[in-house]
């Protein structure tokens, strides 16, 4: 059993957004010096799902892969510390800040370079662009089935069983391997690496490859990237003026709010 987990490095989504700057000219978000770059939380949960599958099977190889800058080595080291066996970083100037479609193309080439793969996992969306495209893209480019928004993953022989989150419950889906699954937050918290695992991770293999190393031509990257263009990037302006409802005590505040809501015909 070989499981590949696709992870992305993002600016720490728990940090206050005011730390980030939007460059409207360049149409990019600029993280300031010193802001932590971390593994996107849903991707962390995808890796957690892979580790749980390995624990239930007793044996499986887990490879973490990422498309990103040299700094993305750090999220792969984190993946190795969490328990992945090997890591592969695809780093190439032609893939810098690339859109989801292009990332999916690069990840597909990366997966293909790994030999036999049974299961490909990734987060339901990355915490920066919140697109939720890459997992579906990898599946379509590879001609594999995909199950999105998983909260539980089980492997029984050649069969994959996934609980998929719906807006008012969940459904259980069965698929044949190989397949792609995107993981949702309902899976539960990802584990924190132990000191021992972190030490061990330093000796695990982490390779870096360029697009050319993977047989991915610049023309193909450009063709994929041309499908869509970011025209504008901005911080939405807020126009609401908050009316503070005060009073001598809570009863007075409650009464005042009820009156104001009635006056504004909101209740």
């Amino acid at each position: 059993m070989h499981i590949v987990v696709c992870v992305k490095q993002v600016p720490d989504p728990e940090a206050a957004f005011s730390m980030l700057k939007v460059d409207e000219e360049a149409k990019t978000v600029v993280p300031p010096e010193g802001l932590r770059l971390v593994m996107s939380p849903f991707d962390e949960q995808a890796l957690e799902a892979a580790l749980r599958v390995r624990e239930s099977l007793g044996e499986a190889k887990i490879t973490a892969i990422s498309v990103g800058a040299e700094s993305a080595r750090n999220v792969l080291k984190h993946a190795l510390a969490m328990g992945a066996d090997e890591a592969l970083l695809v780093s190439d100037p032609s893939l810098e800040d690339c859109a989801s479609e292009t990332a999916a193309l690069a990840l597909m080439h990366a997966v293909r370079s790994l030999g036999r793969v049974d299961l490909i996992l990734t987060g339901r969306q990355a915490a920066d662009w919140d697109a939720g495209i890459a997992g579906c893209g990898i599946a379509e480019l590879m001609g594999l089935p995909v199950v999105t928004f998983a909260r539980r993953i089980e492997v029984k022989g050649e069969t994959l069983i996934v609980e998929r989150v719906l807006s008012d419950g969940f459904e259980t889906i069965e698929a044949l391997l190989p397949a792609v699954v995107t993981v949702s937050n309902e899976l539960g918290a990802a584990r924190t690496p132990s000191l021992r695992e972190t030490m061990r991770a330093a000796r695990k293999p982490l390779s870096v490859k360029s697009a050319a190393d993977l047989g991915l031509a610049t023309a193909d990257i450009e063709r994929m990237a041309a499908r869509r263009t970011r025209m504008r990037l901005y911080v939405p302006s807020k126009t609401v003026q908050c009316e503070l409802v005060s009073g001598v005590d809570e009863a007075a505040q409650g009464a005042m709010l009820a009156r104001r809501l009635r006056e504004e015909r909101l209740v």
Partner: protein, 314 residues
């Protein structure tokens, strides 16, 4: 589709399609056991309903929808393809876009056509930033959030129903079970008033207080991510970037700090009432009315005052 008619979001999509392409044709793909919802789709803006009759198709099945939509898209070559930003739409649209060698914009809040080019505006970075994307390949695929389009009904509208076939059915995934965590009363997506709680409730019992308020207002109850993750309430109550998108007229945010992640799901509410002990919470910047204080005292006081108003009116 629900109970033989289109969902509110589907009606909004039809209105949106008419608005962005007033001179163009709007076709609706209906995969259902029968044609009962077709009339509703036509009334709300469809010129043509492409009906794939399939037993047991009341529920979304990714492979079934994907292969059918792909077949129809190759046949009628639309300029754009819209789906609601729901667990079904967010599953279908990206796969369809890749299959048709095009691109997709997910979770869109606005759609425009300029010089024949489709422009999609969507939230990113936890709802803190907006990006506008131009999709140059065809069809431009997009998932649209609730509250983006305006549903318009015209009972006099006429349209065609065309039956389509999907013979290429080789489904690689199979749904073997479904379980609903159905809440009683109005669904969050359809509610005109929502009472939502966050980390500031300090425990599951806080939701009982909110349920009392919801009862008085005829409202639905929702939550931010943290109470769902902590098991204080069902996951199906989650409103936000990774939960539901809601568009009520009135939204009570109780013990909710107003993080971008949450606001991405409720920022389109017409009016927000914020109740929080922290006067500096970001939610007050988004709220029309703000109350600083303990919800345990404020919410019962509000219920009492609302009941009194009701008595005076009668």
């Amino acid at each position: 589709m629900r109970d033989g008619s289109a969902t509110p979001l589907t009606r909004e999509l039809l209105g949106l399609a008419r608005d962005v392409g007033p001179s163009g044709e709007v076709a609706a793909l209906l995969i259902a056991a029968d044609s009962s919802a077709a009339a509703d789709l036509i009334k709300h803006g469809a010129d043509r309903v492409l009906l794939f009759e399939h037993a047991g198709a009341e529920e979304y099945d990714g492979e079934l929808w994907l292969t059918t939509a792909e077949r129809i898209a190759r046949d009628i070559k639309p300029r754009a393809l819209f789906a609601g930003h729901t667990p079904a739409g967010a599953d279908l649209a990206p796969r369809l876009a890749f299959r048709l060698e095009s691109a997709v914009a997910t979770g869109c809040l606005a759609v425009a056509v300029e010089d024949g080019e489709f422009l999609f505006t969507r939230a990113c970075y936890g709802g803190n930033v907006r990006e506008t994307l131009s999709i140059r390949s065809a069809p431009a695929v997009a998932t649209i959030k609730a509250g983006t389009g305006v549903a318009r009904v015209d009972s006099a509208r006429r349209g065609d129903i065309v039956c389509v076939e999907n013979v290429a059915l080789s489904l690689r995934t199979r749904v073997i079970a479904r379980e609903r965590e159905t809440a009683s009363g109005t669904s969050l997506e359809d509610a005109r008033i929502i009472v939502a709680g966050g980390r500031g409730l300090d425990g599951p019992e806080g939701f009982r207080v909110l349920e009392d308020l919801a009862q008085v207002l005829g409202a639905a109850v929702g939550a931010s991510r943290v109470p769902c993750d902590l098991g204080w309430c069902p996951h199906s109550w989650q409103i936000g970037l990774t939960g539901k998108t809601v568009t009520p007229d009135l939204y009570f945010a109780v013990g909710i700090s107003g993080a971008g992640h949450h606001m991405a799901g409720c920022g389109n509410a017409k009016s927000i009432v914020a109740i929080n002990t922290d006067a500096n919470a970001a939610i007050f910047k988004e709220a029309r009315f703000g109350l600083v204080g303990d919800y345990r005292k404020l919410v019962p006081a509000l219920i009492e005052a609302l009941n009194a108003l009701e008595r005076d009116t009668v």
